[in-house]
């Protein structure tokens, strides 16, 4: 069995305790991973003067795959987000956010199985903002042809590889005819290589309404950065909240898997938070590493523990600690082995 070397970024707040629980589960799944720990986030500011030290960047560049816990983004200060910086440095252009209904978490819908492909590097996240007068601010929305084409191409390839049937483009090209129009044109151009896949497009506001009314109609969605940021959280809400929402940031050479929720600093050290979002991100990482059997084992054990409801965390009605929930998943895997 091949050994994988993975950079572990525990992050801050509840991140370290979550990542330890997730490591416990992944190591028990039978996969051979050598973890190399690196630092990221506010804690690095005092030590290194940056949220993302060079040492961390170099380690990710070497290993090409990382699992990341939550970090805190300062609001309205001069510090750039560590998450956005990571995406920029490694050009992690594809933010893949599955939203799949977890069977034991009751929701009003029978089935939701959507994969969102959010363009991760452009749009109004290009950090080009100016005060153009003392009462007017502007932010440039940057959409490029290659940036739009490659996220669509990536989504179609993913869809083909995973047997998905429909890929839809989400946009507001009726109003933003240049920027969103370019995104939509590039999507249609990329689609020509995948004639077996049904394509379509939907205006972002209508998409929000349709997601709430009838989410089962959607399969794969391709979105520019800002709409993707918003709609992926909407989709997470449909299937149980950010506590179960995995995420992957994928580039041509590096991939970083992470939960999309915050670091919940007020709960740090209390070992009460649900580590499932990082765990399902870890499951995505294992599938990316072709460790499908280990990924399936963890997923089945997690669903079983959630179904039993004996060892679940407070957010899903239980009293278990982070560690007890993780250990229950490990015990379930061992019992089935």
């Amino acid at each position: 069995m091949a050994q994988h070397v993975v950079t572990m970024l525990p992050g801050e707040g509840t991140g370290p305790e979550i990542c330890e629980a997730v490591r416990l589960v992944i190591d028990a799944s039978g996969v051979d991973i050598k973890w190399e720990y690196e630092e990221i986030g506010l804690g690095c500011l005092e030590k290194y003067g940056t949220l993302l030290p060079d040492k961390t960047i170099k380690n990710i560049a070497k290993n090409k795959v990382a699992l990341k816990g939550p970090t805190t983004t300062p609001i309205g200060t001069g510090h750039k987000s560590a998450n956005v910086t990571l995406r920029k440095v490694f050009d992690l252009f594809a933010n893949v956010r599955p939203a799949k209904l977890i069977p034991v978490l009751k929701r009003p819908w029978d089935t939701i199985d959507i994969i969102n492909f959010r363009e991760n590097t452009e749009d109004s996240y290009a950090a080009i903002e100016h005060m153009v007068s003392d009462e007017v601010a502007q932010c440039l929305k940057v959409i490029t042809w290659p940036g739009s084409y490659r996220i669509a191409d990536f989504a179609f390839q993913w869809a083909r590889a995973n047997g998905r049937k429909k890929v839809y483009c989400v946009h507001k090209a009726n109003i933003m005819k240049m920027t969103d129009g370019l995104f939509l044109d590039a999507f249609r151009e990329a689609a020509k290589k995948y004639p077996e896949i049904e394509i379509g497009d939907v205006i972002v506001d209508n998409c929000c309404m349709q997601l709430v009314r009838n989410p089962a109609q959607f399969d794969c969605l391709v979105l520019p950065n800002l709409y993707g940021d918003i709609l992926t959280d909407l989709c997470a809400g449909l299937v149980g909240g950010l506590g179960f929402a995995p995420g992957a940031n994928i580039g041509d050479n590096c991939s970083i898997f992470e939960a999309v929720h915050g670091s919940a600093p007020k709960y740090a050290g209390m070992k009460k938070v649900n580590p499932s979002a990082v765990l399902v991100s870890g499951i995505m990482m294992l599938r990316w590493l072709k460790e499908t059997a280990a990924a399936d084992r963890i997923e089945k054990a997690m669903f079983a523990v959630l179904h039993e409801r004996k060892h679940v965390t407070y957010d899903v009605g239980g009293t278990a600690t982070t560690d007890e929930y993780a250990q229950a998943i490990v015990d379930h895997m061992h019992a089935k082995a």
């Binding site: 560049a61 001069g78 750039k80 956005v84 910086t85 920029k88 440095v89 490694f90 050009d91 252009f93 590097t121 452009e122 996240y125 290009a126 950090a127 080009i128 903002e129 100016h130 005060m131 153009v132 003392d134 009462e135 940057v142 490029t144 042809w145 290659p146 940036g147 490659r150 580039g251 041509d252 050479n253 590096c254």
Partner: protein, 119 residues
């Protein structure tokens, strides 16, 4: 006395002391990351260049980074400057063959930068 919501809104506006400190130039080129030697652009020197919002000069450029043919080049002034200095600067850039799509003056508002930095 403000009588409408619009008038009331504008009445809350805070006047600020505005000072010109530089120019962001948006340059289109197929020749890779532009270079602007110090001393060739009067009172302006290039502080950084970004592509799609990511800094590509000076310093480390990730080999993973996809770049397009449109660069934001930030020029900061080395002394107090006027709009006439910017006009002269634009003329020099054009004369040197740089094709630019837009220029955005950079100001401080009450001493604080009224513009973002690149990632």
């Amino acid at each position: 006395m403000a009588t409408t919501f619009s008038e009331a809104a504008r009445a809350t506006r805070k006047k600020k002391e505005i000072k010109l400190v530089g120019v962001d130039m948006y340059i289109v080129t197929e020749r890779g990351i532009p270079t602007f030697p110090d001393g060739e652009f009067g009172p302006f020197t290039c502080e950084f260049i970004s592509n799609r919002g990511t800094k590509v000069w000076p310093g480390f450029v990730s080999p993973d980074l996809m770049m397009v043919n449109w660069y934001r080049c930030r020029f900061m002034s080395t002394r107090d400057v006027t709009d006439a200095d910017v006009d002269a600067f634009l003329a020099v850039l054009t004369k040197k063959g740089w094709w630019w799509s837009a220029a955005q003056k950079l100001w401080t508002h009450d001493g604080e930068a009224a513009y973002s930095k690149a990632y």
